[in-house]
Amino acid sequence: MYIMGFWTTFYAIAFYLATLFLVIGLAYRIFQYAKTPAPLKVPTMSAPLTLWGVVIRILSEVVLFKSLFRSNKWIWLFGMLFHGALWIVLLRHLRYFIEPVWTWVVLLQPFGKYGSFIMLFGLLGLLVRRMFVERIRYISVPSDYLMLILLLVIGGSGTMMSFVSSTDIVQFKAFMLGVMYFDWQPIPTDKMLLLHLASVILLMIIFPFSKLLHAPGIFFSPSRNQIDNSREKRHVAPWAIEKFETQGS
């Protein structure tokens, strides 16, 4: 009982901290991106002429990885498999955070379970490319490999629990809901579960400090989110107005 109490406390507190890091860290980054001006019109042409066009452009990048598809079919394939499966797996995990479980989450269950294999396949593909394609190996630093390995550990331990050594999932859900509603319940102490949770917590913490910032970054990328209307509408940054256009003119 003592051990269980320790792990419960440890993981509950870790979840609170990780959530704080993730939410505050990301909010700060998004705030920073939003408040930094883009002083020049630099959309990569051809660019949309309307706001709606820009919304479609960004969505086609976020959902379909359109530019990456033009660029490199293998990276697109592995990236798409990983990100697509990750979304399904994540949505499947909603069942551990809500009670009663929404119908569509229930229906997603088999896809989410088997989706984990696709996710692992995509990650392995990316890792193999990183190790064996000379150009990509050249641009890789330790954190690039570790990020993939961390995601593989998360996916691997999760898949193990789904198909090999299941944990007391009812008890885990009680723990998770307890954390959310500040009514702590004991956590199951299976090693696979603790590994899975620890690596997820680590990922949440490093998210705002790492290249995972590509997720919010893409929405703020001036080459993708600007409207092509520089001749019609004058675009000037506040600092440029202050510096050049406020001497009484």
């Binding site: 001006p37 002083p39 630099v42 990183r130 080459s223």
Partner: protein
């Protein structure tokens, strides 16, 4: 430094991914600007003692001023999509010419001084102190980027190495290590009015000579006016149009178009240069100062419209930045786009039937079109996205019978830079220029072999100068590069 000898890359039988050759292009970079040039642009004359501190502060300042820089430095996931997209990488095989590796030269320092991960775990995230070696790498490799934006088309986050290299050059300038070619040219623009240092009397002389040439050639009095007040159109064109080949034939083409359409126009001796090298060095201040000359000339000459000649980077600054830097242009005729590209003007006139063209005059040419990088990926023409690809081709098709596009992955927004853009069109970088032209030369070879193409038309002064120089290295003739308005000039029937 110019190398006496280097190997011209061989055409590749099929497009293979380049093998990397580390440090293939390591070196001291192009000639460094002289102190008086640096100072006339507002920078320290030579490398200052506390360069490290100043460079890091400057980076911090730019991070606050440019969202692009911050987002691009944070967002790269090192996926590798860009690694085979740069013409300099393809031509030189130096891995630091991979767009991501070029960005990383700046990113490693950004991480070290401006991110927690880089401050605490530099080795883990590839963060590096700003040492003299790093600074030297900046100078060398940020002058091996032509700011053509091809990598940004293929990046899943749109990370634009052009923006990063502009920021890097601004930092280098601010510590006193500017590039001779760019900074001398900007200094000349301030002092004389154009990149070539062509003073007003020489300009007048040249233009009068051209008028005589046209008269001899066609028997018609076509004017090339300068500083004429109250006319309809101010034409801003790269100064190479005044005397370099094949540029000058383009200028004659503009003159004939205005003559035939009955549009009064003038050049300005004060703003006798379209190019804005302030962009190449990433300096908002210098870019603005250069751009303001055009506004002043337009006000002074009381014109109603501004039209830009064939010049790629100039058209980027004109189309995308002029309104920002020197606007608002409420004193001009609002019925026309401000500014307008000469190709837009000509194409509109062709569509209206205002120009009589005899296509057969160009029958001895089989033509392809080189999309200039900054027109293709940083600007537009006309009212619809992609007009910058359509309009020049419509003009070519209206003026000649034989037109063939190069392979699809080398045109439109996937076009390859000529290898001389963004401030590298200087003899001390000739090896880079020749090697960087490889992918375009391969595409040209394809249409030459398959369709018997004889000429490549372009709408950029840098492209034209660069190709004139590098075509012979690849077994072509230097005069196979022509101006689009040269085709117009040859086909137009004057009255």
């Amino acid at each position: 430094m110019a190398k006496a000898k280097f190997d011209v890359p061989a055409f590749r039988p099929y497009p293979v991914i380049p093998v990397i050759k580390s440090d293939a292009m390591k070196g001291n970079g192009p000639y460094v600007a002289k102190p008086q040039m640096q100072e006339s642009l507002g920078y320290p004359g030579e490398l200052i003692d506390n360069w490290q501190e100043v460079a890091i502060d400057k980076m911090g300042e730019l991070l606050k001023k440019y969202r692009s820089l911050r987002v691009y430095l944070d967002s790269c996931v090192k996926c590798g999509a860009c690694t085979d997209k740069c013409h300099y990488m393809i031509g030189t095989q130096d891995p630091k010419n991979m767009p991501v590796a070029r960005q990383d030269l700046l990113r490693q320092v950004y991480r070290r001084y401006y991110t927690l991960a880089g401050k605490w775990f530099p080795k883990l995230v590839g963060a590096k102190d700003l040492t003299k070696d790093v600074l030297d790498d900046w100078y060398n490799y940020y002058h091996q980027c032509s700011q053509c934006r091809r990598c940004s088309v293929f990046c899943p986050y749109g990370i634009d190495t052009a923006d990063i290299s502009m920021a890097a050059r601004e930092i280098l300038d601010s510590v006193g290590k500017g590039q001779k070619y760019c900074n001398e040219i900007i200094a000349k623009v301030y002092k004389i009015g154009n990149n070539l240092g062509l003073p007003e009397p020489a300009l007048r002389d040249t233009l009068e000579g051209l008028e005589e040439d046209i008269k001899l050639d066609t028997g018609v009095d076509v004017r090339l006016p300068v500083d004429e007040k109250g006319v309809e159109v101010l034409v801003i064109t790269p100064s190479a149009d005044f005397f370099a080949e094949p540029h000058i034939d383009g200028l004659i083409g503009y003159a004939k178009v205005f003559h035939q359409a009955g549009i009064s126009w003038t050049l300005s001796s004060y703003a006798s240069e379209a190019a804005n090298f302030g962009m190449f060095i990433g300096s908002y201040e210098n870019m603005r100062r250069v751009a303001l000359r055009i506004r002043e000339a337009a006000l002074d000459l009381k014109v109603k419209r501004i039209v830009f000649g064939e010049c790629g980077h100039a058209w980027r600054v004109a189309y995308s930045f002029l309104n920002t830097l020197a606007g608002p242009f409420d004193f001009l005729d609002q019925r026309y786009p401000i500014p307008q590209h000469i190709c837009e003007v000509t194409n509109d006139l062709i569509k209206k039937g205002a120009l009589k063209l005899d296509k057969s005059a160009n029958d001895y040419r089989r033509v392809t079109f080189h999309d200039s990088c900054n027109v293709a990926r940083a600007s537009r023409m006309g009212n619809t996205p992609g007009g910058q690809f359509i309009i020049p081709r419509q003009i070519i098709k209206a003026t000649c019978n034989h037109f063939y596009d190069m392979p699809e992955d080398t045109i439109h927004d996937a076009t390859f830079c000529c290898g001389g853009g963004g401030g590298v069109l200087t003899d001390d970088l000739i090896e880079l220029r020749v090697k960087g032209a490889l992918p375009r030369m391969e595409a040209l070879k394809y249409v030459v072999d398959n369709y018997g193409v004889t000429h490549m038309a372009a709408i950029c002064a840098i492209c034209k100068s660069q190709f004139t120089k590098v075509l012979p290295y690849y077994g072509f003739q230097m005069d196979q590069i022509i101006s689009v308005h040269q085709l117009v000039s040859d086909a137009i029937i004057l009255s």
